[in-house]
Subunit: 202 residues, 2 copies
């Protein structure tokens, strides 16, 4: 299995380089479980979902704590058939395909309840894509049903779903959506935007 994300931070300030560089230290506790490569558009972070999501959460929370309007953007993927297996991605976080949708939804809700708060609000918007054989709309509809009970659900929009709340439960919700819906051997992706301190909200 190969899993990871292409991640970018967009601080809407003249001091954008300092905000980005300052936030990167939030990845330090996770670095030995990830492979990280940067270019001028995005940073590739390769690793299992149970490390990837808390790492993104901490990166976001540190950037948001500057008080600047900052957006974290990520293209997340697991199981892409075009990518090679990688030992660093080994994971126990993916759902058992034999398990009924209702049970997976219940376990996902329990995982959110256990998530620690981070003290930063996260306004998130994301699309979940399930590729390949099988009833991908059934998995997506099952995921949307879970999201509506997650405590972080804000509203559905065209092409995506909005979440809001503390960064802890919001990124836990995203991790559960990514891991528990769609087959463990399937190709699942998330197109994610998380916004902090937007002046449009004030």
């Amino acid at each position: 299995m190969f899993a990871g994300a292409q991640v970018s931070l967009y601080p809407m300030t003249d001091g954008f380089v300092d905000v980005i560089m300052g936030a990167l230290s939030a990845l330090d506790p996770w670095r030995d479980q990830l492979r990280i490569e940067t270019d001028d558009i995005s940073t590739l972070i390769v690793g299992p979902p149970e490390v990837l999501f808390p790492a993104l959460r901490d990166l976001y929370a540190k950037a948001a704590a500057t008080g600047e309007h900052v957006v974290l953007r990520a293209t997340l993927s697991r199981g892409c058939p075009g990518e090679p297996d990688d030992p660093i991605c080994q994971t126990n976080a993916l759902a058992n395909p034999e398990q009924p949708l209702a049970e997976r939804q219940q376990e996902a809700l329990s995982a959110i309840e256990a998530a620690p708060e981070k003290g930063q609000v996260a306004d998130a918007q994301f699309s979940l894509y399930v590729m390949g054989a099988g009833d991908h709309m059934a998995e997506i509809m099952g995921c949307i049903d879970f999201l509506k009970h997650s405590g972080t659900f804000d509203r559905s929009k065209n092409f995506c779903t909005r979440l809001t709340g503390d960064a802890g439960p919001v990124f836990a919700t995203l991790r559960e959506a990514f891991c528990r819906f769609g087959p463990p051997q399937g190709h699942v992706t998330i197109d994610l935007t998380v916004s902090a301190n937007s002046p449009s909200k004030r």
Copy 2:
């Protein structure tokens, strides 16, 4: 059919509101063929691909012309089974499913040659997702083969492909990737990032 995009502009400057507001006038020539709704995270633009891509191109080019480091982000979708048919999305731009992949690739290349230049460089990164029944990887591989001959291909990365060149042919390449691969009745999405004036490139 329902088609459109959730679009955001991220100018990395204290004057981000002015850059965004100034760029919006680039949509004026297209507004009567689109439906546009804005919230604090993104702007929904609903309309057919042949209007959507030039509208995004003009929005990007106008923002890039400020000289600021600006990123345009879009989640594009066509044919999502969860969205209602909408007359404003009626399109003749989608490929004939009976047409062989090689012919579709050739027509896509001709369309890029016909694209006008806009005078702004676009460094783009995108993922194409083809959902539902059928061999989605064959369509994606066919699309990647087209991209490699497009004249705008930069390189493949994990989870995505990079394009670079004038905004005219780059957005034409994106339009062709969106329209000519995957079935016309299918659900196809693009996760798109386009970056202007990045200091990391200097």
